[in-house]
C-alpha cells in the first residue's frame, strides 16, 4: 500500500542557481486520478520554477475549486498558497499582488472555475492586468463533480454519459486576446517541452500572463467522441515549439539553427520560437486572433506563445502603487497620521 512518496531521490539530481534540486520544489503526493493531465501540468510548473531558480518561499500559489484547483497542493510545498472559493481566485490574487508585488504569483484554475462561475472575475483580472501567471487546466468538463460538460466543451463533443454538447465552447485564449491580455499562450499537458518554457516565460512576464492548457480528464473525458482526450488532442495539435532563456544565461547561449525568432521580455530574458513557427507574429494581437480562429475552423488546436506585449502596463504601474511590499512597511509609512491627511485635504481644497 503506498500513497507515500519515498524520501529517496536520484543522487545526481541537477541543482539550479540557488543550489536547489527539483525535489526542493516537491509538493504532497497527488490524489488526482492516475493519468490526469493536471498532474503533468503540476510537474511542468514545478520544473519551471526549479529551472528559473525562483526561491520557493517567494512564490504564491492561488486557486479556486476543482480537480485543477487542487493541483497547488501537489507542487511547491514550501511556497505560499491560497485555495479560495469557486471562481474567486482572481480577487484573492488581485489583493495579494497589491499587498506584495515582489512575489511570483501562480494562479491555477479549471475551465469550470474560470469559464463558468469565475468568468466575471476572470475578465476583470485581465482588464486590470494583475501581475501573475494564470494557468487554466482545461479538460472540457467539471472533473471534480463527475464530468459534466463545462463551458469550454466543444460543440458536438460527446460526454461520457453519451449526450452530445449542443453549445459552442468558450475559447479562453481568444477571450484573453480580445480582453487585452499582454501574454497569451496555449499548450497541452502532454507536451512538456512546450509547456515548461511557456510557464517560465509567463512567470517572467511583468503583467497578466494567461496559459490555456488542454489537460485530458482520464476518468470523465478521455473516451471516443470527446474532443479533449489524449488521442484527439494529439491528433489535432498544431504546435509552435519554443525555448525560454533567462536573462543571466542569454549572453552565453547559442541557438540551434532551428530557432529563429527571439522575443525579449522586460527582465531581459528571451523567448525563442522554433523554425516551425518562425512566420508567426507574436506581437500582433489581431493576427493572433485570426490565427487562433483559422486553426479552430480547420479543427486544429494552435499551441505555443500566441501573443506577447512585453511592455504592457500592469496594475501596480498603472495605479502607481508603492513598490515596497506592505509587510515591509512600518507603522509610520502605513499610517502617516493626521498631518499628512491634512496636507492631502489641503491639496483638494
Amino acid at each position: 500500500m503506498s500513497y507515500i512518496k519515498p524520501k529517496f531521490r536520484h543522487p545526481n539530481l541537477p541543482t539550479n542557481a540557488l543550489g536547489f534540486t527539483v525535489a526542493d520544489y516537491d509538493g504532497a503526493i497527488s490524489t488526482l486520478c492516475a493519468g490526469c493531465g493536471h498532474d503533468s501540468i503540476s510537474a511542468a510548473i514545478q520544473n519551471a520554477c526549479f529551472l528559473s531558480a525562483i526561491p520557493p518561499h517567494r512564490i504564491a500559489k492561488l486557486s479556486g475549486i476543482g480537480c485543477s484547483s487542487k493541483m497547488p497542493t501537489y507542487f511547491l510545498g514550501k511556497s505560499h498558497g491560497f485555495n479560495s472559493v469557486h471562481g474567486r481566485m482572481p480577487s484573492v490574487a488581485t489583493g495579494a499582488s497589491l499587498a506584495n508585488r515582489e512575489l511570483t504569483y501562480i494562479g491555477v484554475s479549471g475551465d469550470g472555475d474560470t469559464a463558468s462561475i469565475g468568468m466575471g472575475q476572470f475578465v476583470h483580472l485581465i482588464r486590470r492586468n494583475v501581475n501573475m501567471a494564470y494557468i487554466v487546466a482545461n479538460n472540457g468538463c467539471y472533473g471534480l463533480t463527475k464530468g459534466q460538460d463545462s463551458a469550454t466543451a466543444d460543440l458536438g463533443s460527446v460526454s461520457k454519459y453519451g449526450s452530445t454538447n449542443p453549445f459552442d465552447g468558450i475559447d479562453l485564449a481568444s477571450l484573453a486576446l480580445l480582453q487585452g491580455a499582454g501574454f497569451v499562450g496555449r499548450s497541452f499537458s502532454g507536451d512538456k517541452e512546450q509547456l515548461e518554457p511557456l510557464i517560465r516565460a509567463a512567470m517572467a512576464h511583468k503583467g497578466f500572463a494567461f496559459i490555456d492548457v488542454v489537460s485530458p480528464c482520464v476518468t470523465f473525458n478521455n473516451h471516443l467522441g470527446s474532443t479533449k482526450s489524449y488521442t484527439e488532442t494529439r491528433e489535432h495539435l498544431d504546435s509552435m515549439p519554443l525555448d525560454f532563456v533567462p536573462m543571466r544565461e542569454e549572453i552565453s547561449t547559442h541557438y540551434d539553427a532551428g530557432t529563429t525568432q527571439g522575443v525579449t521580455l522586460h527582465d531581459g530574458s528571451v523567448i525563442h520560437l522554433h523554425k516551425a513557427s518562425s512566420d508567426y507574429q507574436t506581437d500582433d494581437r489581431n493576427a493572433a486572433m485570426i490565427s487562433v480562429q483559422n486553426a479552430k475552423d480547420e479543427g486544429r488546436i494552435l499551441t505555443g506563445l500566441l501573443y506577447l506585449d512585453p511592455n504592457s502596463q500592469n496594475l501596480d504601474q498603472n495605479l502607481k502603487l508603492a513598490t515596497k511590499p506592505l509587510n515591509e512597511m512600518g507603522k509610520d509609512e502605513l499610517c502617516p497620521g493626521s498631518r499628512v491627511l491634512n496636507s492631502i485635504n489641503e491639496g483638494l481644497r
Partner: protein, 596 residues
Amino acid sequence: MEPTDTADPEYFHKVVDCQFACPAHTPVPLYIRMIAQQKYTDAYLVNWESNVFPGVLGRTCDRPCEPACRRGRVEEEPVAICRLKRVAADFKEDVADSLPKAGPPNGKKVALIGAGPSSLTVARDLAPLGYELHVYDAESKGGGFMRSQIPSFRLPESVLDEEVGYVLDMGIKAHFNSYIDSMADFLTKGYDAIFVGSGAPRGRDLPNLPGREEADANIHIGIDWLANVAFNHTDKIGKKVIVLGGGNTAMDCCRTSRRLGGKEVNVIVRSPYADMKASPWEKEDAIHEGIPIVDNHVPREFVLKEGKLVGMKFDIVEAIYHDDGRRELVPTGDEPAFFPCDDVLIAIGQENAFPWIESDTGINFSSWGLPVLDPETLQSTLPEVFFGGDAAFGPENIITAVAHGHKAAVSIDLFCQDKNLSQRPAPYVNLVSQKMGIHEWSYDSAPVDDKREAVPLVELKAALKDRALEVELGFDAETAFIQAERCLNCDAQTVFTPGNCIECDACADICPTSCINFIENGTEADLRSRLMVPANNDEQDIYVSDKLETGRVLVKDEDVCLHCGLCAERCPTAAWDMQMFLYNVTKATPDLVDIK
C-alpha cells in the same frame, strides 16, 4: 536502440543487483522478505538451496552482494544482507525433514578430492541423482578451510558441523585423514569423474629476508598457524606479535593472537590502509580488539639477539599512484622503523600447489601453476577431471567455491550421461504480477527510511579470553525485521507493456528517482546522455521500449529504481505492472527443497 528483450531472463536478473553479484546467485530479496514475515525456515531453505552453508555464510561471507546493493546507491549503506542470512539460520526450526535424500543409485561413481565448500556443493547437488560420492580429505573432519582457517570466534564449530553434516548425511562416503599423494594412482581407481576441490593450501613466505632462517622457531606461516590453532596443536603465542600482511588472513591471525596471549599485537602492512585487501569490516573488528594497523611499512629484516627473535625492521614508504593505475611504493627516506616482538605471523597471501598431480596425467597447468580449464564447464584437459573452488582459479572465498560446485556438478552430471557439456540446462525463472488492488501490492512496496544497524557484539574482555566464543551476537527478531524492511525488493520488476501506454506522463512525473523518460530514440550513449538525469552508471542497463504512438520511446534507467511501484499505481492503463521475478541458477538437481 533496439527495444529491450525482457523475455531474456538475464535482463531482469541483472536488475536484482545483490543476486546478480552473488556468485551463487542467491535470491536475496526473496529470503529477506521471508525473514520480515518471520518465515525463518523458508528463508533458510531458499539459502540452503543456493549456497549450501547459510549459517556459515551468514557469519563469514565476503558478501559481494552488499557493495552491489541498490540501497547503497540511494543512501549511505546497503541492506545488511549477510547478517540477515544468519538470522534465518539462527531462528529456523529443524530443517532435516525438508532436505533432500540420496537418490536411488544410478551406477556412477564420482570422487571429490578435498572436503571444502566446493566439493561439498558438488556432492550435495549430485547426491539426489543417485551418484555414489566419495570425498577425500587430509584432515580429520569435513569443511576444508572453513574449519582449518576461519577462527571459531567468527564461526562456531557447531554451526559448521551442522551444515557440513547436512551434506555428508546424504549418503556421502567420507574418507578423512586421507591425503591423496598421487593423481596418477587415483585415476586408476575406476571413478567415472573426479572433482578436485583441494584449495590453495600454500602460504607465502619471505625466504630471503635477513634473519628468516635463524629466527625460524618464532616465525609462522599464517594459514598453517591458524590450522594448528583450529586443530588444537597450538594454544599460545608470545606477548608481542607482529602480523605481516593486509588481507583477511592477517586479520584472523592478529585477532587469534590476541586470544592466545598476545598483548601487543601489531598488523604491519606495506600498502596504505585504504588499499589493504581485508574487508572493511574485518579491519574494523581488529581495531576494535585493540590491534593497531601500521601501514606503509615494508619488511626489511628480522632482528635477533643472542640467537632469538627480538623484533623486525621496516622501511617506510609512501604510495605514488600513476596515471595508468599503477601503484608504486616509494621509500620516504626516513630511518627504518623497529618493532619489538616475540613472534611473527606471515600472512601475505596464498598460492596454489599441486605437488600430488604428476605432470604426465594429461591434466595441463598454466605457467601460473593453475589448471587449464574451460571456464564455463570447469573441465580440465583430462575430460573426466574437473576443478573448482580455490584450486581452480586461485584463492577466492566460500561463496565462489559454492558457485563453482554448482557448475561442476552440472558438468559432471552431463559428462556421466555422455551429453554435451556446453548445452547446459536453463535457469528456473518465473514472473508473476503482484497487483492486489489500486494501491496494493503483495509485497511491501513503500521504501522505509530506517538506517543500517551494526550487529551487537559480546563484551570485549570476555571475547579475548575465549577463542571459541563467538564475537557477534546476531540480530534479534525485532532488529531483523527493521533491517529486512530496508530491502527495496529489486526482484519486483517494473514490467512495461508499450501497447497500453497513452503517454500521459504520470509515471515519469511520480517517479521519485527520475528513472522514467519519454524521448526520441537514439544510440545507447545518446539516450543515456539525454535522460532527465543522465544515466552515468554504465554497469546498470537502461530499458528501451518499442516505439510509442507519438513516435517516442520510453527509456527507464534501472540504476536507482526503488521498486516502489508508484509508476504502476499512477498508470491509468496498467501499462506498468510490478511483477515478482524469481531466478534460480542452473543446478544438477533443479528442485532440491520444497518451499511452501
